[in-house]
Amino acid sequence: MHSAVLEAQSVSVRFGDRLALDQVSFTLAPGEMTALVGPSGSGKSTLLRAFAGLTPIADDGGRIVALGERLQDQGRISPDARRLRARIGFVFQKFNLVGRLSLYSNVMMGRLGRTPFWRGLLGLWDKHEAALGHAALDRMGLHEQTRQRASTLSGGQQQRGALARALVQEAEVILADEPVASLDPASAHRVMDALAKVNAEDGVSVLVSLHQIDLALAYCSRIVALSEGRIVFDGPASSLEASALHAIYGEEYADAAPARSAVKP
């Protein structure tokens, strides 16, 4: 198949005068689980959103290739972006479920990109799709909450629901934007466990941005660090040194790596 699941070729993103990403080149290999780390405002979210075709990149020769197809080129999101998004799961920091709908409805929305327009619009899921939905909910330990309104679930349950949606989507790669930043530590570990399990068991590639270095080191074999829109570190977790982290995070270091301030690399 393809040698890379996701590929950014000298991608820049501008918000007004601010350069959020500055000539970033990056490749995610199939089956990889990689962490994006860096202080707030370093461009982690922007890179993830660019990979989902949610944020347009600058027209300066950069491009984004996802699952072997051109997603963004010459500052334009491909007209095929919808079809590609259907194959890319996205997990948001704030879960982004529709609160008034049941968890089941939210999870089944994962099929919208993969079913004919009218059937999706009316939510007429067939047996195979319904089975996918229930299997995904079971796997995420949410069987009991199937019919509950999404807004009544805890943060951790909602985030696992969002993961179930990506499973129903049969996503080939999952982009997770600070998926545990809004959760308590126990829920955070449960969500990260689920994400790692999907990566290990289904071979789904995962690119996850994390503010906390400890979680990145615990769950991901490769770490990519961004600072002011540039990649400042890219390598195996074991080679990331405390001094490098200090340089990357600056003032945010104590917050991002509390346990490591004392630990040697």
Binding site: F95, M109, F117, G120
Partner: protein, 264 residues
């Protein structure tokens, strides 16, 4: 009472002067407007006591014999209000989305808003008169008048509700590869549904009253019966009709309010 409160809360000279200016201005406007609205004729209310007495006697003796006729006319009026309101929701639903800045591009959104402004600006009594010319006397003219005017009001309220939604769930729907129309149905509609329903019910309440007034232009129903009884000096019939209108409109208000409070 208001100015004193202001003075107590902010006892600085500028505030005091501003309050004096505002209330003094209102007083002057009232005095200057009194002749125009013929406030001087107020004593006629009592001096023409013969007419009033006649009217009050009639009101004290409601025409109980024909209450069933009046009730069935009231029912027709409510049916007009119902159809008018439902048609209005049908028109306002697409316009509500297309008139929202966060859904439609300005090239569509702005004209839709102006169309809604126009629908709202023309009173239903005027629209009804035009429809009487087109479809003749009768309830249909009233239904169409209510539908258009209410569509203007609901369309604007619907658009504003759409503009104040949380965009994050919509992005969640977009991220799975959904069609833009699916984003609206799955991401936006569930968020605005309670508010929209509440607005629609509230307009149905007001339309029950509007439909009564539309009897004036021959749109049928209890309103027409009311104006006929007034013109025929049949005040005991008027009394019974008013009683029935009060009962029906209050009942609808109560039920609709109960539903609306449960929705939000």
């Amino acid at each position: 009472m208001e100015p004193r409160q202001t003075v107590q809360l902010r006892p600085d000279a500028v505030q005091r002067f501003g309050g004096f200016f505002l209330w003094g201005g209102l007083l002057i406007a009232l005095v200057l407007s009194a002749p125009a609205v013929k406030l001087g004729d107020l004593p006629l209310l009592f001096s023409r006591s013969n007419n009033m007495q006649h009217f009050l006697v009639g009101l004290r003796n409601p025409d109980l014999a024909h209450w069933q006729d009046y009730a069935s006319d009231m029912f027709l009026t409510l049916q007009m209000a119902l159809w008018g309101s439902v048609l209005a929701v049908g028109i306002a639903t697409p316009l509500g989305f297309l008139g929202a800045r966060n859904v439609a591009p300005p090239l569509i959104q702005q004209p839709v808003r102006r169309l809604l402004d126009a629908l709202r600006a023309i009173p239903d009594l005027v629209i009804g008169t035009v429809f009487v010319l087109a479809v003749g006397l009768g309830p249909l003219a009233g239904v169409l008048a209510i539908a258009l005017n209410t569509a203007g009001v609901l369309g604007k309220l619907f658009s504003e509700a759409v503009e104040s939604i949380d965009p994050q769930p919509v992005e969640g729907v977009r991220a799975v590869g959904a069609h833009p129309v699916q984003e609206v149905v799955w991401g936006i509609a569930p968020q605005v549904a309670p508010l929209w329903t509440s607005f629609a019910l509230y307009r149905f309440e007001s339309n029950a009253r509007s439909a009564t007034i539309l009897g004036l232009i021959g749109a049928g129903g209890i309103g027409q019966r009311l104006f006929e009884s007034l013109e025929g000096f049949d005040y005991s019939a008027t009394a019974m009709i008013i009683i029935i209108i009060i009962i029906a409109v209050s009942a609808i208000d109560l039920v609709s309010q109960a539903i609306r409070t449960r929705l939000i």
